[in-house]
Amino acid sequence: MIEAWVIGTLARTLAYGTPLLLGTLGEIYSERSGVVNLGVEGMMIMGAISAFATAFTTGNPWLGILVAAIAGGLAALVHAFASITLRANQVVSGLALTMLGLGLSGLFGKGFEGKPLDSTISNVTVPLLKDIPYLGKILFIDQNPIVYISIVLTPILSYILFKTSIGITIRSVGENPAAADSAGINVWKVRYACVLLGGVLAGIAGGYLSIAYRPAWTQGMTGGMGWLVIALTIFASWKPGRGLVGAYIFGALIHLSYRLQPFVAPQLLKMMPYAFAILALVALAIGPGKQKSEEPNSLMEPYVRGEK
């Protein structure tokens, strides 16, 4: 009984945690290079509508994911241009991107509301692996291919960030752009690339929502997931591996806010993920395992050559 309960919850955790994970991986890269992007919600929803529109008109859901990635990337470039080239405030630029994304997707998504989608990315069951005790039921029965993509992506992105010269470059740009610049690194190019990656992943997350997780387009359907991603990035101390853990904890909490309704009032349960985010940050800040903050030093500071 309890076993089934745990396994069921964990399987749902993966499904709900995946868009959070994809968004968080992207935001980690963006912030590691020194750029906060509060526009995740906007990029996600642009991805969601683009994916749906593409899959609906072409009948090809994977093409939908590709277009979602491009749409998310393009949206991110707007933020990159404002915050990197024009040195605008990153917080405000991100907010603007979210508003713009929600507005534009709602406006141009009108024609797709209430339309069923025939070509979706449906769940798969992996033969052989499904028989692994416990893990098989959680991970390999009735799970979405994009869930696997995001899981595979996590160690790769972690490896790149911490074990390769590309990662060192990114982190040095985030830590000390002036030093990186004098070492011959093009700070702007690195930041543009990282923000772009953030947008691409957020776009895919949106596409997952509209053509895999729940195939349909509804205006505002990302429902605040983008904001959770921002919280998760900090919660993860800017590390992809911890991002995965965090995304799944949040996924579990949101699923549990329905699962536990017989025991706790629904409104209180719905506060849970948000309260948990705050409490977790407090615990990390005062806990015994307290370590030096991983926050990139130049976060939120536009780089101006020749200063400092």
Binding site: Y16, P116, Y213, P215, A216, M221, H255, Y258, P262, K270
Partner: protein, 390 residues
Amino acid sequence: MKRFIVFTLVLLVGLGFMFNVGLAADGDKLKAGFIYVGPVGDYGYSQGHDEGRKYAEEIFPWLETFYVENVFPPDVESTIDKFVRNKDADVVFTTSYGHMDPTIKAAKKYPDTVFFHCSGFKRAPNVGTYFSGLYQTYYLTGLMAGALTETDKLGYVGAFPTPEVKRHINAFAIGLKEANPDATLLVRWLNAWVDPSGAKEATEALIEEGVDGFAFTEDTPTVLQTAQENGAFSFSHYNPMYRFAEDAAVSGQISNWGVIYADILYKVYYGVYTSENLENVDYWWLMKEDSAVLGAKRDMMINPEYVDQLKSTTITDPLLGELSVYDLIMKRREQMKADRVTFDPFIGPMKDRQDIQRLKDGEWASHDELWTIQWAYENVKGPWPDEPTE
């Protein structure tokens, strides 16, 4: 008495038609403005109203309509202002409970305009009220659910704990119990009218609990889609959602606001309703008036895939004897659609799940009881905000 009123109304309308009284005289179009609380593409409540508006505009050549979507209570009054001042609206429809007070306030400002408010209880000489009740169809789908479930666990994903949603849940539960006394109905709340990812997780959570059939109140087809993915069945809600899940959609309720809008506008046009005589005009239209339609799409009452099972499941009714659930559904539908309605889901004796007597033997629930219903029926399980204890 009621029949007398209906008769008089028909007569008046006929007379109006003959003498072409009312606004028709000068050949002007009747202008009607609609104020919706959600987006028209929500595939739920506001879209349902908008389909009704389109229907009325289609059948009446003398009617011109316009609408505004996503109007929240603080902006209702100013939207009415714009309708009356800039668009010369003769009739204004406001469609959400939260629109009630601003509508009453605006109606005082514009005494010559006809107002109709949906889902509230305050009226005025120029403000009538109307509502389309779906609970009877929920009862019928509850009967189906009782016959179709294998786990004896059904799920209901509810939007907000309003009396309307509680009424729907109870009606569904009453039908369920009648067809299957062992079955229970597990309820989960979203606290949102539109929340696809919440609806998805709530459905999945219920499936984990062993639920194999669903009913819901949420403005997207998410629950239906999720049921289909998991091999469960579900009932469509509000709009025809069959094409979203052709295997899972057994039946459902389609809200048909068009008949109400047509009736109101017709009577306004021919002078039956004026800005002075609406104090007692309240529409509470149900299956009989065709404002609640059974089905997951318009021309299919029950998905043929499920008909056999409904026909082969038999139950014993104290009055009707032994019969199949299918026949019972048809019988009940007939009784509720008849000119003289001889059945309603809410007939006593009825107890709530706290074992408190709610309806005496043979007592029919009154309009006001149904409108303010707070208790949960015997077989309902799960959270129930503000459950009455007396």
